[in-house]
C-alpha cells in the first residue's frame, strides 16, 4: 500500500501560482488579470490543505476558509472598481491607465494593428408576403 508523497500536491500548487503570476503580468484585460490572482490564491490554498493533510490536523483548512473570506471581499471590491474604471474610459484595458506611470518612463505604444473585424453576415430581409388583409373593426372584438 503506497501513498502519494506530499510534494506532488506542492508541485501542482506551485504550477498554479506561477501560471497565475504570468497571467497577471502579461494580460491586459482587467477581469482576466483578476482571475489570474484568484488562481494564485488557489495554488496557495492547495498547499495549505496538503500540509494539513500530512500533519494530521485541520489548521491549514481553517486558514483556507479565511482565504475564501478575503477572496470574496476582494472580488466584490475589485469588481466595483473595474466597473468604475470602465465607466470613465470605456475600455477594460489596463494600458488605458498608463498615464498613472512615473514621469520619467516612456509610454508604451501599440505598433501592431489589431486584426480587422470580420464582416458581419448581412441580416436576413423578409420578402413581403402579399397584400395586407383589410382589418375589420367588428372582427377585432371578440
Amino acid at each position: 500500500m503506497s501513498t502519494l508523497p506530499l510534494h506532488h500536491y506542492l508541485v501542482v500548487g506551485a504550477v498554479l501560482f506561477a501560471l497565475g503570476m504570468i497571467g497577471f503580468l502579461a494580460r491586459r484585460n482587467l477581469i482576466v488579470m483578476f482571475l489570474c490572482v484568484e488562481m494564485m490564491l488557489q495554488g496557495v490554498a492547495l498547499n495549505l490543505v496538503a500540509f494539513a493533510r500530512y500533519r494530521g490536523n485541520l489548521q491549514g483548512q481553517s486558514f483556507v476558509l479565511f482565504i475564501l473570506t478575503v477572496a470574496a471581499c476582494e472580488a466584490g471590491i475589485a469588481l466595483a472598481l473595474v466597473l468604475t474604471l470602465y465607466r470613465s474610459r470605456h475600455t477594460l484595458d489596463v494600458s488605458a491607465w498608463q498615464d498613472l506611470r512615473e514621469a520619467n518612463l516612456e509610454p508604451t505604444i501599440d505598433e501592431e494593428p489589431l486584426p480587422a473585424e470580420p464582416e458581419a453576415a448581412p441580416e436576413p430581409k423578409l420578402t413581403p408576403a402579399g397584400i395586407e388583409p383589410v382589418h375589420h373593426e367588428e372582427t377585432s372584438h371578440v
Binding site: 506532488h8 498554479l16 482587467l30 477581469i31 488557489q42 485541520l58 466597473l83 484595458d93 486584426p115
Partner: protein
C-alpha cells in the same frame, strides 16, 4: 575570474546535467506560454500547444514515483492535469468569457484535489463560493463591459516574453527546492547497497574477506545514521542511530551472521523512513492552539496516530472539527473576517454608486 568560471560551470552542470528534466519542463513551458499569449497577428497555436503538452507530460513523468498506481494516484493525476491545462487556457485565452469558464474548471479540479486531501467541507465551500458566486459575478461584469470585436485588452499582451520567463524562473526555483528535499534516490541507493552486502555476507567464507565485509557494513551504518539525522524524531531514526553502536560492538566480535541480521533489520527500518518523507516536523515551542482540530502543532510526529500508509490520521468528522476549531481557537479571526466582509460590502456599494453626477437624465444622449 577563475572563481566566476567555476561558479558558471557549476550552474550549467546543475541546470543541464543534474536537473535536466526540470530544466526541460521549464523551457518548454515558458516557450509554450510565450507562443500562446494573445497578440494581434495570427498565431501558430499548434507549436505552443504541443510544447505545453510536452511540458505537462514530462512534469507528470517526473512526479511518477509510485510503486503501484492506485485509485488515489489516478485521481490525483487526472485532477491536477485538468487544473494545470485549464490554468494555461485561462492565461492564454483571448475571449475573457472563456477565460472565466476555464477558471471555473481550475477551481473545480482543485476541489477534487481537496477531496483527495480529506477536506470535503472546503471542497464544497470552494465550489460554491468560487465556481458559483465569483465566476458568475465576473461573467455579469463582462457582459456589462464587453465590447464588440477585437480590443486592445484581449488581443495584446504586456511583455509576453519577460513575464513568461519570470514566471517559469519562479516555478523552476520552487521545483529545484522540492526535488532537493523530497528526492528519494540517495535512500534507494543505500538500500540496494545494503541488499548486495547482505548477499555477499551470506556467500563469504574466507576470514579476511569477512573482515572486509564487516568494515563495509560499519561504513553503511554510518550512512544510515546520517540519513536518520534528516528525520530525527521518528522511532525508526532512533533505532538507526542506536544501531551504529551495536554495529561497532559486533565488528569487534567479528560475528558475520549477527551483523547480517542487524543490516537486514536496519534495511526494514529505513523503508519506514522512506514512507515518512514529506510528513511535517513540528517546532519545539509549545503551541497556543487547542487540540480541537487534531494534534497540536507542537506534538512530535512520533506521537501522531498513523494509518497504514504512514500518513497521520485525520479527524473523522471534518466539518464538526473545523467548526469547533473556528469557534474556539480562531474566534477572533472569525469575527474579524465577518467585519471585513461587512466593510467590503459597504465599500463596494460606495464605489459602484454613480452619484449625482451621473443621474439618468444626463446619461441620455
Amino acid at each position: 575570474m577563475g572563481s566566476l568560471a567555476t561558479i558558471l560551470r557549476r550552474i550549467v552542470v546543475f541546470l543541464l546535467v543534474d536537473n535536466w528534466r526540470i530544466t526541460l519542463v521549464m523551457v518548454a513551458g515558458a516557450a509554450a506560454v510565450y507562443l500562446l499569449l494573445p497578440r494581434p497577428r495570427a498565431q501558430k497555436t499548434v507549436f505552443g500547444a504541443g510544447l505545453g503538452l510536452l511540458a505537462v507530460l514530462v512534469a507528470g513523468a517526473l512526479l511518477v514515483g509510485m510503486r503501484a498506481v492506485n485509485a488515489e494516484a489516478f485521481l490525483f493525476y487526472a485532477f491536477s492535469a485538468t487544473a494545470v491545462i485549464a490554468g494555461g487556457l485561462l492565461v492564454t485565452q483571448r475571449n475573457p468569457a472563456r477565460a472565466a469558464l476555464s477558471f471555473a474548471l481550475v477551481v473545480l479540479s482543485t476541489c477534487g484535489l481537496f477531496l483527495l486531501l480529506a477536506a470535503p467541507f472546503l471542497a464544497a465551500a470552494t465550489a460554491i463560493v468560487y465556481a458559483g458566486a465569483i465566476v458568475v459575478t465576473f461573467l455579469f461584469v463582462l457582459m456589462l463591459a464587453q465590447q464588440e470585436g477585437p480590443s486592445d485588452a484581449d488581443y495584446r499582451s504586456r511583455e509576453p516574453l519577460l513575464s513568461a520567463i519570470a514566471g517559469f524562473i519562479l516555478l523552476g526555483v520552487l521545483l529545484y527546492v522540492l526535488q532537493a528535499n523530497f528526492d528519494l534516490r540517495p535512500l534507494d541507493k543505500l538500500l540496494s547497497a545494503t541488499d548486495s552486502l547482505i548477499g555477499q555476507m551470506e556467500r563469504a567464507t574466507a576470514t579476511n574477506e569477512k573482515n572486509q565485509l564487516l568494515e563495509r557494513a560499519v561504513a553503511l551504518t554510518k550512512e544510515y545514521e546520517k540519513l536518520a539525522e534528516t528525520q530525527p524524531d521518528l522511532p525508526a531514526s532512533r533505532y538507526l542511530r542506536d544501531a551504529v553502536g551495536r554495529a561497532d560492538g559486533i565488528y569487534t566480535e567479528g560475528d558475520v551472521a549477527r551483523m547480517r541480521d542487524l543490516l537486514a533489520s536496519m534495511h526494514a527500518r529505513a523503508r519506514e523512513l522512506e514512507r515518512s518523507v514529506g510528513t511535517l516536523r513540528p517546532s519545539e515551542e509549545r503551541s497556543t492552539l487547542s487540540e480541537l482540530s487534531g494534534p497540536a502543532s507542537s506534538r512530535q510526529s512520533s506521537e501522531l496516530r498513523r494509518d497504514r500508509t504512514a500518513r497521520p490520521a485525520m479527524p473523522a468528522e471534518n466539518t464538526a472539527h473545523l467548526g469547533r476549531s473556528l469557534f474556539s481557537d480562531y474566534l477572533l479571526a472569525v469575527e474579524l473576517g465577518g467585519t471585513l466582509l461587512l466593510v467590503a460590502t459597504i465599500g463596494a456599494i460606495a464605489i459602484a454608486d454613480r452619484g449625482p453626477a451621473a443621474s439618468p437624465r444626463r446619461r441620455l444622449p
